[in-house]
């Protein structure tokens, strides 16, 4: 599947952590998962969100690395830090807009998701996409994802003034062309927020 891409559909995540556990079983980083399963404040929402490395076209983690330890392959995969170069400064950890790189104090090195580069180089899918039971993580062709999903895939992001383009796509509602943090994701105004539209008690008291 050389024309395949990685798609994250947060709305499908059921929080089962199959991806986290499968990632942790990998031979190249045995026992340590490179996936974060983000949980929104449980008090407010049941939403969970798997976060793999988004593999930016111009990776900020690599830009800020003083030791030039983070490399991107010609096919666009941003690798974990190179052991001989990484100085454990954690600049990358602080700068990544997706919160992906982790500083491992035990080995004094940054590690992150490399989209299973070992598996991909022998034609296998990233492990997490093979175990996800609900299609929240999917490795497939653009045509197939457009045929089978209601939302559309986007890979353009805006964090404040910072524009980012990623190799990995996320599924969003059809009218969205770019994930603009602060507007689209929260999708609400401060006055609506105060009303807490996700509170079941308020929901049951009646809608507008």
């Amino acid at each position: 599947m050389s024309d395949a891409a990685f798609f994250i559909d947060y709305s499908r995540c059921i929080g089962c952590e199959a991806c986290v556990n499968a990632c942790g079983e990998c031979d190249t980083h045995r026992g340590t998962s490179m996936i974060h399963l983000e949980t929104i404040e449980r008090r407010d929402s049941v939403q969970t969100a798997p976060q793999i490395c988004m593999h930016c076209e111009d990776p900020i983690c690599a830009q800020v690395c003083p030791a030039d330890a983070i490399k991107k392959t010609p096919d666009g995969v941003v690798q974990s830090s190179l052991k001989p170069r990484c100085i454990g400064c954690s600049n990358c950890v602080l700068s990544c807009p997706f919160g992906v790189p982790k500083y491992m104090s035990g080995i004094d090195q940054m590690m992150k998701c490399d989209m299973c580069y070992d598996r991909g180089s022998v034609g296998k899918q990233p492990m997490c996409a093979t175990v996800c039971p609900s299609g929240a993580l999917t490795y497939t062709s653009m045509e197939e994802i457009q045929r089978t999903r209601q939302g559309i895939p986007v890979n353009s992001w805006k964090f404040g003034a910072e524009e980012v383009k990623t190799k990995v796509y996320v599924m969003v509602p059809r009218e969205v062309t770019k994930v603009d943090i602060g507007l689209v994701q929260i999708q609400t105004t401060p006055s609506v927020l105060q009303m807490d539209p996700y509170d079941v008690a308020l929901m049951l008291e009646g809608m507008e």
């Binding site: 952590e17 079941v200 008690a201 929901m203 049951l204």
Partner: protein
């Protein structure tokens, strides 16, 4: 109107009084929400209605399913691409078991144990006299009640942990103590196996081979990955040996699951769930085959009711009007809150397997009580406090998870844990009159804030119900 049906006029008449306002009072959700759901459902070109135990675990569970099916059929969203209806089973092979005679009122091929023709056919397949096949047995709740009443004195169970999984756990424990002889086949020593006189070490699915049938009616081969440890044996070998010692070795002389499947093919032939055309080899080569598959050359039936032909003798779908009725135990002054029970994603059924897997225990090591902030405030309960959830039958002490994602009149406790941490200490034994499914989803409870328990059970390992 979808054409190949009968009874639409009666159905239309029966739903007249269920206006959105009236239904709103029954369901406890705003009328506008019901209208909004109808507006989403109505104009959709295709739809697939799926549910799991949520609408089934009620004394009116069958009626709830009928209402859903009425809606699917009335809109003609069945028997064509992108459309259909399914109840997702709770167990991995829940579908396969129930269609091949695992239930006490069935014979293989979804046949009826009380139907003389069905009995005759199966007696022929098995080479036994028709009268040697028993009549309808008791389903789980009536079975436990019969044990409790002293009418049943002996029991053999396979992978069954009713101490955790059946409602009214105190009653279940009393019943098990009254058994004169109890044999338990299981792969781990479950809480129920502790009541057994003899425990036979069985096997996990991964230690055996066979087929499993999923909710689509797709039959899938599963293969053996590891050998059962030490002297544990495949469950079927244990059954065959017991049969042999009872003097029926020649009827249970299967060399392997393949030969059992060969018999099942013939036993299911001509039934609703007909596996006859599925050979072991075909299942091996394919990504599963769908019943009915009546001939070896038959491609299988991925979608039922195409061409508008349904299972009734007249070939039509029959609308079955249903009327709402209240649950067996509704909240009152003494027990003012509804308890609903269910599952968490990291635990499976009674937890006999999943409470032993580290990563899953880490993910959800303890049961909890989801409670809305408004209800929590009423009892002075804060997130993480221990709460006693108490019904007329028993109680469970768990920590509170204060969340806005639940109704303020209802609390939720997942059921996978044993002993003092079992939600089923509280639940009600009342059953649906047709399916005999118990009402796990509604019972009346009262709540109180308590100190963290420090008794002997609380000191157990978390997998066994401790609270450290």
């Amino acid at each position: 109107m979808f054409k190949p049906t009968t009874g639409f006029d009666q159905l239309a008449e029966s739903v007249k009084k269920y206006t959105s306002e009236y239904s709103s009072k029954i369901a406890g959700v705003p009328a506008e929400m019901i209208v909004k759901a109808a507006e989403l459902w109505g104009p959709a070109p295709t739809s697939f209605l799926m549910h799991a135990r949520g609408i089934e675990h009620h004394t009116e569970g069958v009626d709830n399913c009928m209402a859903a099916i009425n809606l699917v059929v009335a809109t003609g969203r069945i028997g064509r691409e992108g459309c259909g209806y399914a109840m997702i089973t709770g167990q991995g092979n829940g579908q396969g078991g129930r269609e091949q005679g695992q239930k006490c009122d069935q014979l293989p091929g979804s046949r009826d144990i009380s139907n003389p023709e069905h009995r005759k056919y199966i007696a022929g397949v098995w080479g036994v006299e028709e009268k040697s096949i028993p009549q309808k047995g008791l389903s789980a709740i009536p079975l436990v009640e019969a044990i409790h009443a002293g009418k049943i004195k002996g029991l053999i169970s396979i992978c069954f942990n009713p101490v955790v999984s059946l409602p009214d756990a105190n009653f279940v424990r009393e019943a098990l103590e009254r058994l004169e002889f109890f044999t338990c086949i299981d792969f781990f020593l479950s809480e129920t196996a502790r009541y057994a006189d003899v425990v036979l070490a069985g096997s996990l699915m991964e230690e055996d081979e066979g087929t499993t049938t999923n909710v689509e009616g797709r039959v899938i081969r599963h293969r053996k990955a590891v050998t059962p440890p030490a002297e544990a044996r495949e469950d079927w070998k244990i059954i065959c040996e017991i049969a042999g010692r009872l003097g029926y070795a020649e009827k249970f002389s299967y060399p392997s699951p393949k030969e059992m499947f060969e018999e099942l093919r013939i036993a299911s032939k001509g039934g609703v769930s007909d596996y006859y055309g599925m050979t072991w080899e075909r299942l091996d080569e394919s990504n599963g085959l769908f019943w009915p598959c009546p001939e070896v050359g038959h491609p299988g039936t991925p979608r039922l009711y195409e061409n508008g032909k349904f299972g009734h003798p007249d070939g039509r779908a029959h609308f079955i009007p249903v009327e709402w009725r209240p649950s067996d135990e509704m909240p009152d002054e003494e027990y003012p809150v509804i308890l609903t029970t269910g599952r968490v994603v990291s635990q499976f059924l009674s937890g006999t397997q999943t409470r032993r897997i580290g990563a899953l225990v880490d993910q959800t090591s303890q049961p909890f009580c989801e409670i809305h902030p408004r209800l929590a405030d009423k009892y002075g309960i804060a997130d993480g406090d221990f709460v006693k959830v108490e019904s007329r039958r028993g109680n469970v002490v768990v920590h509170a998870k204060v969340v806005k994602t639940i109704r303020p009149d209802t609390v939720f406790v997942p059921y996978h844990w044993p002993l003092d941490r079992s939600a089923n200490n509280c639940t009600n034994r009342a059953i649906d009159p047709v399916s005999n499914i118990p009402e796990f989803k509604i019972c009346a409870v009262r709540l109180s804030k308590v100190e963290q328990p420090t008794d002997a059970i609380a000191k157990l390992e978390v997998q066994a119900g401790g609270v450290r």
